[in-house]
């Protein structure tokens, strides 16, 4: 197990400067909003920016983590390591998922503090519901984006020509099937269960039902895409 832990640490350390920058930027933005915002303006809603920001930046960072191995020839040492090839995408995925976890924790804490300071008088939601809903949204999409990127990179490095074209084809192909299958899949998965959420908006109690279909569908698609990427690393990817 030690080699796997060592490789995970390497993956985690490789982009630590970018992680540091993202953490600092999120904390600075949250502090700025807490200190200068007001409940009458929409300015504090900028607290959502780090969420969407990291949802976009981290998949690019994951793609870069793969591409840089081939560009800088370090794929030679990586693929020659005496471990099963599937560990390579899995550990890169997990390292970036840890980045996402850290950034999620900081962003959500910032968001919660902004909510308590500026909006708690108008809208009331329990702390547990706040974190649960945030995590459900953030991690389901993160898993899907990361898995799609991992599959695109695995496809690219399974061939020696037209890599960019193949990566793009995988992206649009996945998107096409995902959109086409979404409706029936979500409807079917909605049967599995739901979560009832009680909100108080301007003194009035409102009950919301959060169905599990959509996050489950996103997570299942992510797992399938990651499975395909792992398969490509085991059977096709090469230097």
């Amino acid at each position: 197990m030690k080699p796997i832990v060592t490789l995970f640490k390497k993956e985690f350390k490789e982009h630590r400067l970018i992680l540091f920058f993202l953490v600092v930027a999120t904390v600075v933005l949250d502090l700025y909003l807490l200190l200068t915002g007001s409940s009458d303006s929409a300015k504090p809603l900028w607290v959502l920016a780090p969420y969407s920001g990291t949802l976009i930046i981290l998949p690019f960072l994951l793609a870069h983590a793969f591409t840089s191995e081939w560009k800088s020839d370090t794929a030679y040492v990586l693929l020659a390591l005496p471990i099963r090839p599937f560990w390579i995408p899995v550990l890169k995925f997990l390292a970036l998922l840890c980045y996402a976890g850290i950034l999620f924790g900081i962003s959500t804490l910032g968001g919660y503090l902004v909510y308590v300071r500026f909006y708690a008088n108008h809208v009331s939601i329990s702390t547990a519901d706040f974190w649960l809903l945030s995590a459900l949204f953030y991690f389901s999409w993160t898993l899907l984006f990361f898995s799609l990127v991992t599959l695109m990179e695995a496809a690219k490095f399974s061939v020696h020509r037209y890599r960019g074209l193949l990566g793009t084809a995988v992206f649009f192909g996945t998107l096409f099937f995902w959109v086409r299958l979404s409706d029936p899949a979500v409807r079917w998965l909605d049967r599995i269960g739901h979560y009832t959420l009680t909100l108080r908006i301007e003194g009035e109690l409102i009950t919301q039902t959060i169905r599990f279909g959509e996050p489950l569908w996103i997570a299942i698609t992510g797992a399938v895409l990651l499975g395909l990427a792992v398969l490509l690393f085991e059977t096709k990817v090469e230097v």
Binding site: V5, T6, P82
Partner: protein, 230 residues
């Protein structure tokens, strides 16, 4: 036989890099793989290291296909500089150590010292000669059974070449370790090569025991290299 290659073909877009290659390598011997640029040497080394997949044919090392267990017994020094530029020399050695059974940290430090490498310098900041020497440190810091050296002297200045060759053949465990070496600088390694394979356009054009070939043809290995190339 420690390495068995049978009917090996490798196709890249628009070209065959290897065509029907078959050979064996015996344990404890130094096998020179010689050929011009584009003859298929590096592709062959990559396939033996398990980082490139054959299009057709069989490769068996220690009697089995290349698995992680087999890779743990092979030291591979590619033609390129494959180490992470953001790591220091010390970090790189610490990173690689857990992967290779029997890695000897003290031996690694001794080799770093012998090779006059700065432990705390980033790999990306090393000179080409230093990077070449670092590959040798990595290869001989653990008791690998096969060493695959693809152009270990390519583009390296003469003093570094001398130091690399000195370390290579003082650390080499005769009779136990098998070395496969490819190089353009045949004359510099000629005295060490015991068996030789000449490649041209992905095919074997000449092979045999080095002494026997010299005797039969009345030429040195480097003269034969030039003859085969033309």
């Amino acid at each position: 036989m420690i390495i068995e290659v049978e009917g090996l073909w490798k196709r890249y877009p628009g070209t065959w890099a290897l065509r029907d290659l078959s050979f064996t390598a015996k344990k404890g011997r130094v096998l020179g793989i010689l050929g011009e640029n584009g003859s298929g040497k590096s592709t062959l080394f990559r396939i033996l290291a398990g980082i490139t997949r054959p299009t057709r044919g069989k490769v068996r090392i220690f009697g089995t296909p290349i698995t992680p267990t087999v890779k743990a017994r092979i030291a591979y020094l590619p033609e390129v500089q494959p180490y992470y530029p953001w790591m220091t020399v010390r970090e790189l050695l610490e990173f690689l150590a857990p992967f290779y059974p029997g890695w000897d940290p003290q031996k690694a430090l001794n080799l770093v010292d012998f090779m006059q490498l700065p432990l705390e310098k980033k790999v990306g900041d090393l000179s080409k000669g230093q990077k070449g020497r670092l590959k040798v440190v990595v290869a001989f810091s653990w008791p690998s059974e096969i060493v695959l050296m693809d152009e270990p002297l390519g583009g390296i200045d003469p003093p570094s070449r001398k130091r690399i060759l000195g370390a290579l053949f003082s650390e080499f465990r005769y009779g136990e370790q098998t070395i496969l070496i490819s190089t353009h600088l045949v004359s510099e390694v000629e005295e060490f090569i015991e068996d030789v394979i000449y490649l041209k356009d992905g095919s074997i054009v000449l092979s045999g025991h080095a002494d026997q070939l010299r005797e039969e043809r009345g030429k040195s290995l480097s003269e034969l290299f030039e003859e085969v190339a033309t």
